[in-house]
Symmetry: C2
Subunit: 417 residues, 2 copies
């Protein structure tokens, strides 16, 4: 009875029938099970899968498995604000498309996706759209005529260990892997009843206050978006300024090592995230920032929890400039890379140096070449591929392109300003 | 740090290295992931899987998926006590065996399996043995040189939503499905830290009192085993009398509808389980009772929780005879099936009637045929296939066999007593 009541409550919040919704052990499991089941259910139609380039890793990992298994995948690119263009998404639909996936809002930069418009195009093409609603379900139901939906309770303030998967009636679905009689054969294993009950109750509770809290947090994140560029020089605020989640704001700081900045802010009591390469175990920048083509160095994601206090935001804005300055100070006087002038090209050897050093060295020498002259930055750091073009965009310099070098890659920049 | 500490504590309780143990979202998921990963990792060796006939459904479902995917599966039978014979298990090992699975103890009847002996045979054959230790891990580490182990926290008194999977170093393992960087790539999704910490803490806590509590519960279940046959006529206590879990005792009552008995006991405040067909949604008796060849009708499984009070056990023994008698009373005067004497065979038509009616009707008429005479029971109830032979065994009558009838199946019984 508790499970039935929780399912009714969650279904009401989602806007679906109770028998269309199952509880899984996490949002990730909901996505994995949803993608695998839909692809298998529509295998006769074809094996083409569409995802956006900025999906959560659970969607992208599912796509990798599908591709390794012989399926085909189209990644729809996003604009500099992080959103897909519905028309471009629609163009990716093919006769053999089994499934399309689109997040309701991005988990790193907060940009909302045009789900209703994409759902409409998918519906016309007869292709089910799976919406990863992990970021937005606490704020409200997902609009539009989508076919499947996945979400995660701890994202809306509920407990860990509960996800939900919705498969609308009429969607062909064939659960993969071993199943049992639980959750309509879509989520095997003993149901975590206490956590499921808490998840449904918390969703109802956050929804009751969502409208007011969204307006309040939106004002606070707007404050960060508006004031950070004035407080910190050489900063790029990323993500759509209007169509965005209420509580997330993301910016990148030139000439800053993201890991060091996180530590500075942590010492001041602020726990933030980063998509910088130097904060990830893989040493590559976030795939989201890469797909958007924005600066990844010194990247900071501030997520305001429900109930976040205005004073804390003000104190963050007070602390941030000092923290960034402290990190820049430490990096401020690196030994410049060997600078060699070859004909009309100034060569900066940043081999073996990691983000943000290559960009710092580029910035230091660009003034030393005449307008129209070229700088050739040698780097073997993966982040340079993203951050040198992003720096050019921010500084109004021309990014000419990259070419393989004897070691690493050479990035060519023409001084235009 | 909390996750690392929990992993260290759990590994110590299991008797493995911390880096061999990952947390999953349930015991079922641990089994599914473990079986799939081991089968894939040893695919070059072959695609043969061995399981016992009385494994938990998570193992059997994994085996079904493997078979549907073209693999082969051997089910090793059990004796009437529910245990596999190590020699028979060893005989199932082949050159192309990728994996062998054996539970540490059975979940329905409590019988302990000869894991150490089977592990030894598997080790000699170079085949990894996966032990489903869900039932026993709270009582102590699994003995023997096993290769993989799965367990479930809520079974040892921990929270729902946590399982564990151990893969010893050197076992070829290839995680299947989408994975992420969590839990060594073996259990995708956000870790349920609070529940994992509670799981590890509770395992340590129950282990600290396991020896004393095991002795105490064993005395209580022994009391039930010894006294039920005297208190209730026509009862069969099932499971190994010696090599068994401390807190589980199972018995079956002739001429009783399991569902009705559960309701009677529930009204008295006792929540028990049943493997009878009439209590399952599939209307088939438990696969465990079927594999053991014991009576399934009126089946009752009593699981004593940690700390179960002696008074409660005494009250259960007081209530049980009345509850069984009440159910038998209600069933006691069914209109007997049409009885037709065909030559020397007495035919009982129980078509359309469900467990325990066919056995009741057989019992009512057997006295009416001469010693050496035959009774032919017509039944379309799946439970009859198990319960009529089991009744013959209990009553010392000869079970001759079954044959297809115009409708349902005819079961032939010769009166010998």
């Amino acid at each position: 009875m508790l499970l039935d009541a929780a399912r009714e409550a969650a279904a009401e919040a989602v806007g679906c029938r109770a028998d269309e919704l199952v509880f899984t052990s996490s949002g990730t499991r909901a996505v994995h099970a949803g993608v695998a089941g839909a692809l298998a259910g529509r295998r006769r139609v074809g094996r083409h899968l569409i995802v956006s380039a900025v999906e959560h890793s659970s969607v992208l990992h599912s796509a990798e498995v599908h591709e390794a298994d012989g399926g085909s995948v189209t990644q729809v690119p996003v604009d500099r604000g992080g959103a897909v263009d519905p028309a471009a998404y629609g163009d990716a639909l093919r006769g053999d498309t089994a499934l399309a996936c689109l997040q309701s809002a991005n988990h790193e930069v907060g940009t909302e996706q045009p789900v209703a418009a994409v759902a409409e195009l998918c519906r016309e093409a007869g292709v089910p759209l799976l919406v990863d609603a992990a970021q937005s379900l606490g704020w409200g139901p997902v609009e539009g005529d989508w076919s499947m939906l996945a979400a995660s309770a701890h994202k809306w303030g509920g407990p860990s260990g509960v996800g939900l998967l919705v498969v609308r009636k009429g969607v062909r679905f064939s659960a993969q892997g071993p199943v049992d009689e639980r959750e309509s054969g879509r989520a095997a294993g003993f149901e975590n009843i206490p956590a499921i009950v808490a998840a449904a109750a918390s969703l109802r509770a956050v929804r009751a206050e969502a409208a007011g809290e969204a307006a309040r947090l939106r004002e606070l994140t707007e404050r960060i978006r508006a004031r950070v560029p004035g407080l910190v020089p050489d900063v790029e605020v990323v993500g759509d300024p209007v169509r965005r989640l209420p509580g997330v704001v993301t910016f990148s700081c030139l000439y800053v090592d993201g890991e060091a900045l996180l530590h500075e802010l942590d010492r001041e009591g602020f726990s933030v995230s980063s998509g910088s390469s130097c904060t990830s175990s893989t040493l590559t920048p976030s795939h989201v920032l890469r797909a958007m083509g924005v600066l990844s160095e010194g990247n900071v994601r501030v997520s305001l929890p429900l109930g976040a206090a205005e004073e804390d935001v003000e104190r963050f804005l007070e602390v941030l400039p000092r923290a960034v300055a402290a990190v820049r100070d430490k990096l401020g006087a690196p030994v410049p890379g060997a600078v060699v002038r070859e004909a009309d090209v100034l060569v900066v050897d940043s081999l073996g140096k990691r983000c943000p050093i290559p960009v710092i060295e580029l910035a230091k020498v660009i003034g030393g070449v005449p307008v129209g002259g070229l700088v050739r930055v040698l780097s073997d750091d993966e982040a340079a591929r993203l951050d040198i073009p992003a720096w050019c965009e921010m500084r109004g310099q021309e990014y000419v392109g990259e070419e393989p070098a004897e070691k690493g890659t050479a990035y060519l920049v023409r001084r235009t300003a």
